[in-house]
Amino acid sequence: MIRIGVDVGGTNTDAVVMRDKEFVAGAKSPTTPDVTSGAKAAIGKALEQSGLAVDAVDAVMLGTTHFVNALVRRRDLSPTGIVRLCLPSGSSLVPFADWPRDLVEAIGGKFRLVDGGYEMDGREIAPLDEAQVVQAVAELKAEGCTEIAVSAVFSTVRGDMEERAAEVIRAAHPELNVTVSQQIGRIGLLERENAAIINSALRPLAVDVVAAFARMKADLGLTCPVFFTRNDGTLIDTEEVERLPVLTFACGPTNSMRGAAFLSGLENALVVDIGGTTADVGEVRDGFPRLAGTSVTVADVQTNFSMPDVVSIGLGGGSMVNTDTGKVGPDSVGLDLLTMGIVFGGDTLTASDIAVAAGRAEMGTHPAPKVPDLDGLVAEMDRMLTDVVARSRTSAEEMPVLAVGGGSVLMGPRVDGLEVVRPAHHDLANAVGAAIAQVSGEVSKIVQLTDTLNREAAIAKITEEANEAAVARGADAATLTVLSVSDVPLAYLPGNNLAISVTVVGDLNLETA
């Protein structure tokens, strides 16, 4: 199978062509404001290098930071109202608490609290009042909301009330999109609600972005399907990305980590991705990133959807060096390194100049500068990298450190006592990670155990359903493996009940996709 992986980053858009598990060609092109022209140029260059015809391509996998950037820039966001099922609880802390004011203004900040929600053990706080929900949405619509998000207290423990409210809203207001919080976030009402609101606000943009990539595909003469990559390193189709754009927020670091693991053949490792301005560090286990356990701040808003656990510091190839203080970064010349760095003929001392002077890297057009206290500055960079790597580890276990990205030349041969490995094509790791993305199937259900259905049999049954869901999404049944299983006993329902969730992944099979 011939696949094209694309990573649309803040600075560059990268594209790679892969034949099954083999790297064929790759190219970079500057990211353009419209996103798709840069992607089109990169894909065109990569295809040309590969010598393959356009109609040989079986699938395109896109990783894009477009949605998270829209949020950061407060652009292209749609007015969203949130309905929270919580009364009589909940009024002491209302939605949009702790949001930056400009973002509240961009989204509208409209909400209604209505009856409902559950206690931690699944008892009702109050029954759902369907008429009240319909009325609340009618009011939000009259106030200008075009998108609706729904949250309910402890909907992660018991989700039926939130689902029912969404059904009622869709029936009464079929023109409105509805996002339910349990689809996106975890325990922590405010953070889950924030994630649902952000998702809602991005949905109309997602429709536009999908349409733009469809046009790009037509312009390139590609006829194959297009997929987007998710935060967890798996694929969603264009219809799903229109409904759940936040699922793509962290695909950049995820693709970089998965690409690094793939390119090095090391499935358990720390990955350090150093660009022009930052170094991002995470951990892969069996080829998938370790996910953050607590809340994650996105564009100054606390959310809690599943994201890779990435620690970032302000150290990159373009980081500016202050010889008076001995500090490196966090200010960076970014993309202007290629004109402003001393080894490129400029007059700004950068981390890259230090790396060249110290003999760690060879780059540029000019000789390395003479730097006072070179050893001290190298030690400072090593200290910063050691600290961020140490913070990303979960144990004293020995594991390799995979260095990827253009700025990875800053790294020495060892960090925090661990060996540094720089895989081939490391500067295209993101696009490779997108190209190798797999298909997942997830099923979460409450199962009542009986004499004939014990816990193991129930988990096997849900796993089978997850397999079917993955195959329906386009996974090759022969390649499916279980990624995670959890089962939680539910004390609040009569009988012996388990909440079981299973996630499986497999390779994409276009015959069934």
Binding site: P88, L93, M120, D121, V153, F154, I187, L190, A396
Partner: protein, 358 residues
């Protein structure tokens, strides 16, 4: 006329929440949600007056307000906002007089900011002091217990409007019965307890706790990662250790999260290893079988990069940390007090030795 020692607006509240997390000694719950609730109550222009106990007449009724229960419930199910007015009305009826001021019972963790919601909502001042000087896991672990003051009459209200009052034979019984009821109420509830008149607590209140929390928050805002040294020197404490977390071990025993954190020294502490023991809060700091500090003195872990306090439930492998030791209030250093909150109460096989702040 009372002259406030501090007028608390949103930025001041943020500093108090930060300082409250330091005084939480790793436990007491994250003040974040409580701070947001208090900010909603304050709005853009309200402030809360923090006043000195000395400015209140002997017969002024003071009501401590706190959240009781599981912090993770408070992350999901927020109060209705009616609990506090109901608590105040119930206690005024029981005590036969009006409440003059709100008190913070626990200056560490979430309960450092909860009383500010009450003060803002009721338009009452809040006393500059508390009954722990830190966070402790159980309701009877307050200086008031030492002074023979009863937790009851106590009132408890939930978000649905259910209320209860308690009349018990000891503060330990209050803890047991109240704990059981919070579970029925959904895992967390708002309580008003230890109602006192100013004249009763002149000798057993830990004075200045809120201005102290504010000062700590201010120092962290100003000094960031370098705040630990400044905190140690300006609060009469000591920087016990600086290093990197190399092991975290956790276990659940009953309702308590217990465990230990091993830290390998860096900088001046290179070559040394310290182990912190915790049960909700950090309770001991040990090096080679020697105790550097134990409860009731405060042991607080600070992120060496940011100056932010690190709670016991989120401390992670690899974090670069400084260990701050702060002396507890002298009231906790008597034999009777140590029986209530000393190392042996928590199953630590060591006698209490006051923190060495040389």
């Amino acid at each position: 006329m009372m002259t406030p020692v501090l007028n608390v607006d949103k930025p001041a509240l943020r500093r108090i929440a930060r300082g409250g997390a330091v005084l939480g000694s790793g436990g007491g719950g994250d003040p974040y949600i409580g701070r947001l609730m208090a900010e909603q109550e304050l709005g853009d222009d309200k402030t809360v007056s923090v006043v000195s106990l000395d400015d209140l007449p002997d017969d002024a009724l003071i009501l401590p307000i706190a959240m009781m229960g599981a912090p993770h419930v408070m992350l999901e199910r927020f109060p209705s906002g009616n609990e506090i007015p109901a608590l105040v009305a119930t206690m005024e009826k029981l005590m036969g007089r009006e409440v003059s001021a709100i008190l913070c019972i626990e200056a560490g963790g979430l309960n450092s900011v909860i009383p500010f919601i009450a003060a803002a909502q009721m338009g009452l001042p809040i006393i500059d002091g508390d009954a722990m000087g830190r966070a402790f896991p159980e309701l009877q672990m307050v200086t008031f217990t030492l002074a023979g003051i009863n937790a009851t009459p106590m009132a408890m209200y939930d978000d649905k409007g259910n209320g209860a009052t308690f009349d018990t034979v000891s503060n330990q019984w209050t803890e047991r019965l109240a704990r059981a009821l919070t579970i029925e109420m959904g895992g967390a509830a708002m309580v008003g307890l230890y109602p006192v008149v100013a004249g009763d607590i002149r000798d057993c209140l830990i004075k200045g706790s809120l201005t102290l929390a504010h000062k700590i928050g201010d120092l962290i805002e100003t000094y960031g990662g370098q705040a630990t040294e400044t905190l140690a020197s300006s609060l009469g404490g000591t920087m016990l250790f600086h290093g990197r977390v190399r092991d975290v071990e956790r276990r659940l025993e009953g309702a308590f999260a217990k465990g230990s954190v091993r830290i390998e020294g860096q900088g001046d502490f290179r070559g040394r290893t310290v182990t912190l023991g915790f049960q909700n809060e950090f309770l001991s700091a040990e090096e080679d079988g020697r105790m550097l500090a134990t409860t009731p003195d405060l042991i607080t872990l600070i992120d060496a990069n940011t100056g932010a306090p690190v709670p016991t439930d989120t401390v992670k492998y690899g974090l670069s940390v400084k260990v701050l030791g702060l002396p507890c209030d002298p009231i906790w250093r008597t034999e009777e007090a140590l029986a209530l909150v000393g190392p042996r109460y928590f199953g630590i096989d060591a006698d209490y030795r006051p923190l060495d702040v040389a």
